[in-house]
């Protein structure tokens, strides 16, 4: 009987360190599938960030550069300019991209660098023990917002997919989720479109993937998965915010 679902070749056959129910694993797989589909594994260079996804080089069967915290888009810029024939993507958490790395992401996007950014928004700093991030929901309790995020003091959660879509240098920006088969199928499609932009040399593409962090949310995996579909999707609306060439 033919095997109709198997591990993508760009993803190493190893066990990950991610917690039970963490969506990083799912998002890794979708990125690997898209690389397989475009046949770019041999020329792909991933830029890892600092956070729970720091071990990109252990999980993807491609070349990887590990960037200092928040600096992945700057490193990706250098790699892509030095090797224009390569396929370059960053993979960054929300603490990495939307806090310490805000400057790097905005300027790389504004310059329209020919790279793809995979931004994993789990509304917290996962690796360091669940501190408040710029994307933390109003009212969400974290280790640094024990009474819940307060809009008056902390501002409202940043919507990066919308924010970056406004920049002229950005060709494609979309927000996806992997909490249900339906959202996951759409996420696959959008990740492939983002990659298509780069494969065709058509500029900067951005994917924001909503992601569950059961451990730091203090939830069981199924509960955390549910929260993505309800609370998160309600504020961080899924959709395509920019697609200049309608690819």
């Amino acid at each position: 009987m033919p095997q109709i679902f198997k591990r993508p070749t760009s993803l190493k056959d190893v066990q990950t360190h991610f917690c039970s129910g963490c969506h990083h694993g799912t998002i890794h797989r979708l990125v690997a599938e898209a690389m397989d589909e475009f046949g770019v594994q041999g020329r792909a260079i991933g830029i890892a960030s600092v956070g729970c996804s720091v071990f990109l080089y252990s999980y993807f069967d491609i070349d990887v550069v590990e960037a200092p915290h928040g600096r992945a888009p700057a490193v990706a810029t250098g790699v892509k300019r030095a090797r224009p024939g390569s396929f370059v993507f960053t993979y960054q958490g929300d603490g990495d991209l939307a806090a310490i790395g805000t400057s790097e992401i905005i300027h790389a996007a504004n310059r329209g660098e020919d790279i793809t950014v995979i931004f994993v928004n789990n509304t917290t700093y996962g690796m360091t023990g669940g501190q408040m991030a710029p994307t933390t929901m109003v009212g969400q309790r974290t280790s640094t917002s024990p009474y819940g995020r307060m809009k008056e003091k902390d501002g409202a959660p940043l919507r990066m997919a919308e924010l970056l879509a406004q920049l002229e240098g950005v060709s494609f920006s979309a927000r996806v989720a992997v909490n249900s088969p339906r959202n996951l199928m759409d996420a696959k499609k959008q990740i492939k479109t983002a990659f298509r932009y780069q494969v065709e040399g058509k500029g900067f593409s951005f994917i924001e993937a909503l992601s569950a962090c059961p451990t730091n949310w203090g939830m069981k995996p199924l509960q955390a998965n549910e929260r993505v579909g309800t609370e998160l999707c309600d504020y961080f609306r899924l959709g395509v915010y920019k697609n200049i060439m309608e690819l």
């Binding site: 039970s20 129910g21 694993g25 992997v178 996951l184 995996p221």
Partner: protein
């Protein structure tokens, strides 16, 4: 007949496959695996359509589907 294969040692017992299956064919077992989780188990292999939704949802790529 379509079927799935759950690689128990890779499973982290998150249960996402159990809610993904439109036919409710997967449950979490009561056994403890090598990682300390209770792995998913194919509860009924006769009704599987091979739709692969369980495998799609698995964060640990622990499910293979044959059809």
């Amino acid at each position: 007949m379509p079927r799935i294969l759950i690689e128990e040692t890779r499973c982290k017992g998150c249960g996402l496959c159990t809610i993904a299956c439109p036919r409710n064919l997967i449950i979490l077992s009561e056994r403890i695996n090598n990682q300390g989780y209770t792995p998913a188990q194919f509860a009924n292999d006769e009704k599987c359509s091979g739709c692969a939704l369980c495998a799609e949802m698995c964060p640990d790529v622990a499910i293979e589907v044959y059809r």
